[in-house]
């Protein structure tokens, strides 16, 4: 009598296996697609810093202006991380013996810099210029979100190219008066008012954001 090598249900299930196999590559592609998306892997990235510096405390509670520490943001492409000297401007008196600040004091004494960990990292072929944006009515909050509420800074926006282009194509929704640039809490009364303010600022400052490749890639 003929005895099958495999149980009979296997034969019956074959089309299902076939269909599964067919969809497997699609599934894997889907996994890879979403797994590699900046939305998945970049948003929420919040590395531990060598010094537990709290933006929520300094920028939020104490209300320090962003530019007190990030001094070059209006002048240069880089919004430079403050030198140890800037920390010590206050901390040689305030919390002068705090154990959390041991590394800062050590750095100041020895001249060894503090190795801060980069949070917002654009690829090397992207040439972003902070000064070009903050001088033209684009606030820090547009890319960095409410840093004044973050204890440990995390990445809140995808920073992908499509996201950049959204604003470059329709900047009106992202412009604000120049004196409110570092006021992260500022908001126009309504989307309509924002649109009106944006259009006015755009006209006044001749803001024509370029979407040409060489604007950011060289």
């Amino acid at each position: 009598m003929f005895k099958p090598y495999l149980p009979l249900w296997f034969d019956r299930a074959r089309p299902i296996f076939g269909a599964l196999l067919l969809f497997l590559p699609l599934y894997l592609l889907g996994v890879a697609w979403f797994a590699a998306d900046p939305q998945t892997i970049d948003i929420g990235y919040s590395p531990a810093q060598p010094v537990p510096f709290s933006h929520a405390l300094h920028a939020g509670e104490l209300g320090l202006d962003c530019r007190y520490c990030h001094t070059t943001v209006e002048k240069a492409a880089h919004a430079a991380i403050p030198s140890t000297e800037i920390c010590m401007n206050c901390h040689d008196r305030i919390a002068a013996n705090s154990p959390k600040l041991a590394l800062v004091r050590e750095s100041y004494a020895t001249g060894q810099p503090i190795p801060w960990v980069r949070v917002h990292d654009l690829p090397d072929f992207v040439y972003f210029d902070h000064s070009a944006h903050v001088n033209r009515g684009v606030s820090c909050v547009e890319c960095h979100d409410r840093v004044d509420r973050m204890d440990r800074v995390y990445q809140a926006k995808t920073l992908r190219m499509g996201w950049c282009l959204e604003c470059h194509r329709n900047p009106e929704q992202h412009l604000r008066p120049q004196d409110q640039i570092t006021n992260l809490a500022w908001q126009a009364g309504s989307p309509e008012e924002q649109q009106r303010i944006g259009e006015e600022l755009r006209r006044k400052n001749n803001i024509q954001p370029s979407t040409s490749c060489s604007t950011c890639h060289r």
Binding site: T72, E74, F125, H217
Partner: protein, 1034 residues
């Protein structure tokens, strides 16, 4: 395909790049038919191995992690005042190359110099530089620079410290009070501080001996001027004051004093304005930059040039006596060659005389003292002293480029009285005549030390070698020919703890003073009434401005300046030299890439094509067409040159316009201890090129007559770029049938013809241009460029400047042979006229940023797209390397990364070289196309800067790298949308034309036709009438 070997019908180009192209030879047709020149297979990886590697890299890529690697930001602890991270800072400094000073401005990013520009307020440069200054930053970061103080003990080199050396030195110094047995050898330098230190040391040690040695010397110039004026002097040309210039194998824009400035001054007279327009005659053996810029060039063998000078002096004497010249060029039994010489001589003499006071004669360094004396007399007779030429006395022995000293040094070494010798920034063992056996003599000396950037040939003969600080690492000063005090500031701390010449010499005087103290002291002594603010200003500007400084120019001839010239000099010159069998004259020249050999390890310069031969990576025997025919040689044939002292085998390059029976070879190659680029025998890295110093002897330095030459039965491929980027036969045929001239020229007479206005554009007729695609519209800037072919001298500084600005990789000779050089800008060199006596045109070609760009139309992935401001943007990250764009580019300006050319930098030893990169430009990887971007990083940064300051861009604010470096100001960049901008004005010029504009690609770069100013008598002989305008396109 069978038609590939057939001659190309009617291919008779008026402008041609190579002799093969002109003659339409089978080799040329074969060359253009081949996909891979030289028939090379793509060596290296087999297909199987490649697949294995690719599989492996995919796997690795998968595991490489899902986020960018964790990176750190390391801020300053105390940020220096004014320092903004990532923001370039600019400081004035200067480069002193054997006493020739170029004022510079260094661009430093985060404390590291990455680019040098000419100092716009410095009289030596006025903003331009030569290629050497551009390549200096690569030398600074050269991983092969010596890094330690090393000493030889028992035949072994061991690493020691600077303190060890100073201790050893102190011991030797203590042994003498008069300097007996001490010898100092240096290169020529203009530095007032070094010269002062020498004087101080000479006072303390009267018996110490000093030698200055430069292998590319101007001894003959100084000897000639001593004969003429009674004192040694150096001629400096002020070409903006000259109407007629005669260059006797004088490379006005490369070798002569103040060459960068000379290019600017000359170019200012070449813009087609009849009031200013100069006429340049060149009489020369080799091709100099003056020769290729000349209106008329007469190739003469080395011996004939002095005959020409004699004849000229006689002619001028006749003219000065108020007589007119006899009719020497119309005898019916004269050969055409003799007639041409006669007419040339007459034209030159009459022209010089007519414009006396505004005419000048210059002679090359290698010509004998009697020629230089004669030239001085002629210039005096032409009333040009103090005008277009000044003769300045050479008072300080250290500023003189001399090689005479070598003879005395050799005698001293042979005598055995030398106990201590110190070499500072000089390499005589490499360049001295072999028969001197300098290396053995130096090895015998008990104490010998060498200070240099590299552990070179001389270092290896010494007992100590001390790494030298690069000029960008050390304090120093310099003095230009007109006495401008120039300060050399360090841009970076010495990378390898190197010491400067000042620091070395100060060990003998006062070890407590550093170089800055010495320099400041010199400044104070020189300007006793100066304030501290003057010094600050001197540092900021790079020079000290003095009011009403007078040039000590020689104006009166000495009584000794008389010489009997044979009365038949004219006849003798016209008759020409008698042929002398199978022997040739050999002329050794400075090299455009490596100078005297000191830049041999500079890959930018090695890969930089010679202006005329277009040769990279090495030297060759340059011969003319008649010589080549006589020897049955072609490009790449190897010949053997035999002189009494040496035998040399050299590959041949046949170049039209080199006189018969003459071989021209450049010096500076064949280095055995240059480094990993130029040759390092101890690590089995063969030298690049052939060391032609081997021919030198005590008797002859530059010219060797009666040299036996034989052809060897072998060939050597040459890394020459002259035939690159040719298109196939269909394309060439199409070019002849359909296209206008790529380079256009016009005579001054035609340009200024009041009856028929000239238009370079209308030289070519074509049907109305209609576009297949909708045309772009612009509402903002429209960037554009204008290149004035009349000003371009072909020096090629722009090529190196572009390489430095845009992080362009070096590919090496093997890749250059496959037409894979990466330069974004090339200087096409065309010949026109006869192969025996052609004229040249140089044409810089970079991406023309077409508005209807053929490259954009074929890219399948939109990796090259049009920007809102009219640039062809190249998006490296989108590029998948189909190379369709390069194929479709009519200008052949796109470059493909066949390999990962930055791979060497992964080696930890080479990491220092990464510091040379411009952080504003992406490093391109393998498989990516790249091309000129009009320096888009400079455009963007200038725009942002202007916007931040809420002001419009100023015309001229944005300068491309090629424009900024150009000593002749031939390149202008700007906004075409602004009708008052310089570039828009030039585009409106009647000399402006778009290259290949008839293809309707709408190039954004326009060329300005070259203006020639021929002498009517010579024009009738030399200049063929332009061919009839081209037929209407198909």
């Amino acid at each position: 395909m069978s038609r590939q070997g057939e001659p190309i019908a009617d291919y008779n180009p008026r402008y041609w790049r190579t002799l093969d192209e002109l003659a339409n030879t089978p080799e040329f047709r074969e060359w253009i038919a081949k996909e891979f020149p030289h028939g090379v297979d793509l060596e290296g990886l087999s297909r199987r191995r490649w697949l294995q590697l690719m599989a492996a890299s995919f796997t690795l890529a998968g595991f490489a992690g899902c986020r960018w690697e964790k990176t750190e930001i390391v801020p300053f602890v105390h940020r220096p005042t004014g320092r903004i991270p990532g923001k370039p800072e600019r400081f004035a400094t200067a480069m002193d190359l054997s006493g020739e000073v170029t004022g510079l401005v260094a661009t430093c990013v985060d404390g590291r110099p990455i680019k040098l520009e000419g100092n716009p307020v410095h009289p030596s440069s006025l903003g331009g530089t030569d290629a050497f200054a551009q390549a200096a930053v690569l030398q600074l970061y050269d991983p092969d620079r010596s890094r330690d103080v090393i000493a030889r003990s028992d035949g072994q080199w061991v690493v020691r410290s600077w303190e060890d050396f100073t201790a050893a030195l102190r011991e030797r110094v203590a042994a003498t009070s008069s300097g007996e047995g001490w010898v100092f050898v240096t290169g020529a330098t203009s530095s007032p501080t070094v010269r002062r230190l020498r004087k101080l040391l000479e006072q303390r040690w009267p018996k110490a001996q000093w030698f200055t040695y430069e292998p590319l010397h101007d001894d003959f110039v100084r000897r000639g001027t001593r004969e003429a004026f009674g004192v040694e002097a150096r001629p400096v040309y002020r070409l903006n004051q000259a109407k007629v210039i005669l260059a006797l194998d004088a490379d006005l824009f490369f070798e002569s004093t103040g060459h960068v400035r000379a290019a600017r001054d000359f170019a200012a007279t070449r813009d087609g304005n009849p009031d200013r327009m100069s006429r340049l005659y060149a009489v020369e053996t080799r091709w100099t930059l003056s020769g290729s810029s000349a209106d008329h060039r007469l190739p003469l063998s080395p011996g004939e040039i002095s005959a020409f000078v004699d004849a000229l002096e006689n002619c001028l004497a006749t003219l000065a006596a108020g007589e007119s010249l006899p009719d020497i060029g119309s005898s019916p039994d004269q050969s055409p060659e003799a007639r041409y010489r006669a007419v040339f001589l007459k034209a030159v003499a009459e022209d010089l005389w007519q414009y006396r006071g505004r005419s000048v004669v210059a002679a090359g360094n290698w010509l004998g003292p009697e020629v230089h004396a004669a030239v001085a007399r002629i210039n005096k007779r032409l009333e040009s002293l103090g005008g277009p030429v000044v003769y300045l006395p050479v008072s300080d022995p250290m500023t003189a480029r001399t090689a005479e000293s070598l003879h005395a040094l050799h005698e001293l070494l042979v005598s055995g009285s030398v106990q201590n010798i110190l070499f500072a920034d000089t390499n005589p063992v490499y360049s001295a005549p072999l028969a001197m056996k300098l290396n053995q003599l130096i090895e015998r000396i008990p104490f010998s030390a060498h200070l240099g950037l590299y552990a070179d040939e001389t270092a290896l003969s010494c007992r100590w070698h001390i790494p030298m600080a690069h000029f960008l690492e050390a304090w120093g000063d310099a003095e230009t020919w007109d006495g401008t005090y120039t300060v050399v500031q360090p841009m970076i701390a010495p990378l390898w703890g190197g010491k400067s010449v000042i620091e070395l010499l100060s060990l003998f005087l006062d070890a407590n003073k550093n170089a800055q103290d010495w320099v400041y002291e010199t400044f104070q002594a020189r300007y006793p009434h100066s304030q501290a603010a003057d010094w600050e200003r001197c540092l900021a500007q790079g020079l000290f401005r003095e009011e009403n400084r007078q040039l000590n120019s020689l104006t009166e001839l000495a009584n000794t300046a008389k010489r009997e010239i044979p009365g038949d000099a004219v006849e003798r010159f016209v008759a020409g030299e008698k042929s002398t069998g199978n022997s040739v004259s050999v002329l050794l020249t400075a090299d455009y890439s490596v100078y005297d050999g000191r830049f041999a390890n500079n890959a930018w310069l090695q890969e930089w094509p010679d202006p005329v031969t277009r040769l990279t990576w090495g030297n060759a025997a340059v011969i003319g067409v008649e010589t080549a025919r006589g020897l049955d040689c072609k490009d790449g044939s190897v010949i053997r040159l035999e002189v009494s002292s040496a035998t040399l085998d050299l590959p041949v390059v046949v170049v039209p316009g080199i006189p018969p029976r003459t071989v021209v070879v450049s010096l500076g190659y064949g280095r055995s201890a240059a480094g990993h680029v130029g040759g390092l025998v101890r690590e089995n890295i063969p030298p690049v090129g052939v060391n032609t110093y081997a021919l030198r002897s005590d008797a002859s330095q530059f010219v060797f007559s009666g040299v036996k030459v034989t052809k060897l039965p072998r060939n050597q491929p040459l890394a020459s770029v002259q035939d690159h980027h040719l298109i196939d036969r269909v394309g060439l045929q199409g070019r002849v049938e359909r296209l206008g001239e790529l380079v256009r020229e016009v005579t001054l007479e035609r340009l200024t013809d009041p009856h028929e206005p000239y238009s370079a554009e209308e030289v070519v007729h074509h049907p109305p241009l209609e576009s297949l695609w909708p045309e772009h519209t612009y509402d903002g800037h429209r960037w554009g460029m204008a290149v004035d072919l009349s000003k371009c001298i072909g020096c090629g500084a722009c090529v190196v400047a572009c390489q430095a600005e845009n992080n362009i990789p070096v590919v090496g000779p093997a890749q250059v042979m496959r037409s894979r050089e990466m330069h974004w800008i090339r200087i096409d060199r065309y010949f026109t006229g006869t192969p025996e006596n052609p004229r040249t045109v140089h044409q810089p070609v970079m991406c023309q940023q077409c508005e209807m760009a053929p490259c954009e139309q074929v890219c399948p992935v939109a990796a090259t797209v049009h920007s809102h401001e009219g640039l062809n943007d190249m998006v490296y990250n989108r590029c998948i390397g189909t190379r369709y764009c390069a194929n479709n580019c009519p200008y052949k300006v796109r470059r493909f990364n066949y390999f990962y050319y930055h791979k060497d930098l992964d080696n930890p030893r080479n990491e220092v070289q990464k510091m040379v990169y411009n952080p504003e430009v992406t490093i391109r990887s393998r498989g990516v196309m790249e091309k000129c971007t009009y320096c888009v990083q400079r455009i963007q940064n200038a725009k942002i800067e202007a916007k931040n300051q809420r002001r419009p861009l100023i015309d001229g604010e944005i300068q491309t790298a090629c424009q900024q470096v150009c000593p002749a100001q031939a390149i202008v960049f700007g906004d075409l949308a602004d009708p008052s901008s310089a570039v828009a004005q030039l585009h409106q010029s009647n000399r402006a034309y778009g290259m290949l504009a008839e293809l309707n690609v709408k190039p954004r770069t326009k060329y300005l036709a070259r203006v020639r100013n021929p002498h009517p008598a010579l024009q009738a002989i030399e200049y063929r009438e332009p061919a009839a305008t081209h037929e209407h396109g198909a």
